[in-house]
Structures are given as C-alpha cells and as structure tokens.
Amino acid sequence: MDHKIYILIVEDELEVMDALVKDLENFEKIFPVETANDTTEAMNVIDYILDHGHKIGLILCDHVLPGKNGVNLLIELQKDEATARSKKILVTGQAGHEDTILAINKADLDHYVAKPWTEQELQEVVRDQLTDYVIENEKNLLAYMQILDAEKLSEEMRKHKMTDH
C-alpha cells in the first residue's frame, strides 16, 4: 500500500481522548490514529496527512470543543472533496437536538456515539464504518480482512467478479 488510511480523533478532554485511543488500539496496526484537541489543530493534522498522500478514513469528533464546535468541523469536512468520503462519527454527550440534525443533514453523519460508550460498542462502530470506507474507496480489500469485517469484505469480493489468472 502506498497510502495509509488514518483515523482522526478530535477531543479536548484528555481523559476522554486517552480512553478513545486505548479502545482503538486494535486498529492502529493498519489504521494509524492521529489526534487533535480542537478544530484548528484538526484542520492542520488533516492537511498534513493529505499532503503526504495519505487518506482520512474515519473522523471521531466531540461536539463541544474550544473554538468552533464539532458539528461545524464535520460540515466543513463534508464540503471538502478530499474528506467528503471519510466516515464521520460524532462522539458526544452534549450535542443538542438541532446540532445533531444539522450533522446528519449537512455533514452526512455516519454514526452517533453517545457518551459514555462501551469499548465493544465503539470498536464495532469503528469496524463497520471502516469496512464501508474501504469497500467504497479501496481497490485491494485483502489487506483489511484481518482487522475489519471479513465477511462483508468477502461478500463484496464475491460480487465484484474477481477472476482467476
């Protein structure tokens, strides 16, 4: 693989960030995890990753952040072609009704994880979202069979007329 697919976590509370990173350890072997404490830092990290020819597969974003809020960040990323396809998850306990609706309608939010989450729940959500991401964006799915949903990936390969040679 000449490019890596990153997981980006945007969260301002240190303990929450640590918990998220720890719960996503299993994915790090294939999907490197980057973190940012606010939206400005997030944009910088994203630019850095994209500039180096890599991709953002998944963004886990808190809503209440210093400066611009999480939903606004996700909306902005949805408008940008380079991050429109990235899977977007809101991890929050405090997003109000209206913000959530906004996130779904304008940021094409893929999932909403309410705090507190369980490790298993989070891993399942991330596995599902990344599986969808690689199916939609990557050509060679074999590299992801071990970490992601192998059954779903196999089903995709079955439907995609893989041939002998």
Binding site: M145, A150, E151, S154, M157, R158, M162, D164, H165
Partner: protein, 466 residues
Amino acid sequence: MKTNLKDLVSILIGVIGFIIPFFLNIPGLSEAGHVALSIFIIAAIFWMLEPVPIYATSIMVILLQVFFLSKQGVLFPEVTAEYSPDSYTEFMGTLANPIIILFLGGFVLADAAVKYDLDKNFTRILLKPFGSNPKFIILGLMVITALLSAFMSNTATTAMMMTVILPIIAKTEASDPLRIGIALSIPFAANIGGIATPIGTPPNAVVIGALSNQGIDIAFTEWMILAGPLVVVVLFFTWLVILRMFKPETDSIPMDFEGKFQKNASAILVYVIFGATVLLWVTESLHGIGSSIIALIPVTVLALTGILDKNGIRQLPWEVLWLVAGGISLGISMESTGLAEWIITNIEWSIFSPVFMIIIFSLVAIVMSNFLSNTVSATLLIPLALSLTTSGAAGEGFSLVLISLVIGVSASLAMMLPISTPPNAIAISTGTFKTKHMTRSGFVVGIFGLLMVALYALFYWPIILN
C-alpha cells in the same frame, strides 16, 4: 501511471530482450523465427516480472504479432519458402476463438448466479447432509467449492465460501487446528475444482485453444471425463491431508444455515438457464452441439431478458479473455515460424522416456505456476509441448493431447504460496493460518498431484483418448 524502479528495470530488460534477436543469426532458426523469439522473450519477461498487468502484456503480444509477423505486417509481406505469414485476422481472431466465447458464456452465467445468490443458497442447501461433524463439514465445504469452481471462477467461489466459513470459524476455539483446516480447504478445493471442466479456470482454455489450432477439438464432456476422475482423487486426498495435518479438536460444529432461494421470475429464469446450460455442456458428446455454441444461449437469453444489462456487460472480466487470447495468439506464431520446434530440437529428447517427460513437464508447470499466473505458465509451456509432439522429436507414446493435458492440469495444482493463486491470497488474508501451514500442506498436495498426473497420463488418459 505509477512506476517504480523495479518496474522500470523489468521493462528495460524486456525491451532489451526483444531487441537482441534482431541482431543475432541463430543457425537453424528462420528469420521470422527470430522475430517470434523477440516477441516470446518480451512477453515472457513481462509476464514473469509483471512490470505491467499480465493482460496488458497479452494485448501487446497480439499487436506485436500483427505488426511484425502477419502478412499485413512490416517485415514479411510475402510468402517465402521459410515462412508463410498468417493473416493478421488469425492473431486478432483469437479474441473470438470458440474457447473465449465459451468463457464468456461462463462469466455471464456465473454473474447471474451471483446476482441472484444462487451460489450461496446452493452451498447452504448442499452443506446440510454433511451434518455437524467437523471432518464431514470440511469434506462438504470442499466438495461444494470444487463443484462451484468447476463452473465459476475459482476466485469468486473462494470469496463466496469465505462468507460461509468465517461464521463457522468464529464459533470454534482460537486454538483449534480445525480453523486452519477449514480456511485452507476452501482455496485448495477451488484450485482443484477448476480443473474439472473446460470453463473451470483459464489454463484449461489455453490448452483447449492451443489444441484447436492443431485441429483437435476437445468436447466439454470429453474434458470432464479426462479431468474429472483426477479432480475427485486429488480432492479426496487433500481432504485427508488437511484432516491429518490440522486435526480438529472439537467434535461438533453447530450449523444453522438457512438457504432461501429467491423466487421472483428473473431468479427462476436464471436457475433454469443455469441448469439447462450446464446440462447441455456436460452432455455435449450426446448431442454434438459444441460447447461454445451452447455458451451463446445463456448470453443471448440473459441479454434479451435484461438480466444481463449494459452495466453487467461492461463489468465482465474482459481482461481474462484478453489474457487467454494473447496466450493462444502467441502459440500461433511460435508454431508457424518454427520457433517452438527450434527450441525443442535443441534438446535430444529421444533419450528421455515418455514417463520422464510427463513428469518433467508436470513438475515445471507446477513450479512455474506456484510463482507465476497459472495461465501464463500454461501459455509459455504449451507451444513447446506441441512442437515436441508434432516434430516427432519425442517419439512414440507421447500424444499431443496427453502432454497438453499434463501441462494444463499441473498449472492448477500449484498452491504452496499465497501468491500462487488468487484463492490462496484470499484465504491467507483472513489471518486464520500462516504461510507455513499453506506451504506444508500445499507441498504435499502438489507432490501427490504430480504423481497422479503421471499415473493418469500413463494409464487412464490413453484409454479415453484412443
């Protein structure tokens, strides 16, 4: 276009290899033979080092032959005593070779089957009688995989079977060798099953295409009678090997599959067409209608009914057809320019016994296709085998069909490495087993396969062919 240094070097080697024969004067080789040698070298190097996709090389082979070796090409416009050039249509025509059309029919059928989940439901229904004993579940999985891969691509079959076995594997203990056994049984059975019919896998097409250029037509039924018994024996042996090497610890696996066949009109039509086509294929020798003619029936009916739509047609694996066509086309000029014969006559074959040569060809084919594409291995070896027999260099007891079969079948018996075949690559990607497991068991299967090919070639195939 992305290229790295290794690819650039490979391309350079290929191009240099292509140029060299133009400056040589090899005694005993016609002028056209030199050109054919150039094309053979660049094709072989590109196919082996793969700086470009293997189908791209095949397309290039057709162009190079039209350009340099055909009657309409730049070098040999006239018929001479040494070389009577083929028309360019011969080379281009390989794309409509009956075997290509047969494959097209196979692709279209397999596609429709996948679209309506026929393959999945078929698997679930057929798996039931094998009960819940892990030994018999593995046997069941292997038999079904082999059956399906005889008519669908080995790779697509493997991908489908992964969706069946992954839930089974998830239910077993992580330390149980059963997991390894199940995960290995699928690609092995798919590789082996592909041998069973002409449309099972592309190397078979290369063999049949090359033979038809020699005026020998192998009927669908005949191929099945020749290859089928070998498939059964090797498959059964592989099952035993897997059970022995990866002895299941648990004695029962709960199986709760429900096969639900789709019942809408299109689905039923697909079942009928699938069944009817397969039936007509396997009974070719009874009614005498060629299998490639029959192959046009499903293509036509599925297109007329819209089940095969514009997108479906666009998404067919055309690259496989180009790959095979390029291979058949290469064989034409190697033969007609005398290149193949020249390669052959440089070796004193008569000192070798037929048994020895069968084993050598089989062994070379197995070793080559462990590292290269199976189709490429068959493509490179078949012309040599053909001229070995047509030139009479090999003497008695060495028939054209026989040695072609040896090569074609052996090319599918390579399964030691993840890169050997796409089914192997899929299976190992699940992380259920390590390369060493595949290498060990694949080695045993390969050696047994070699032995069986030799025995069949000596005792069984001659009976059927005569």
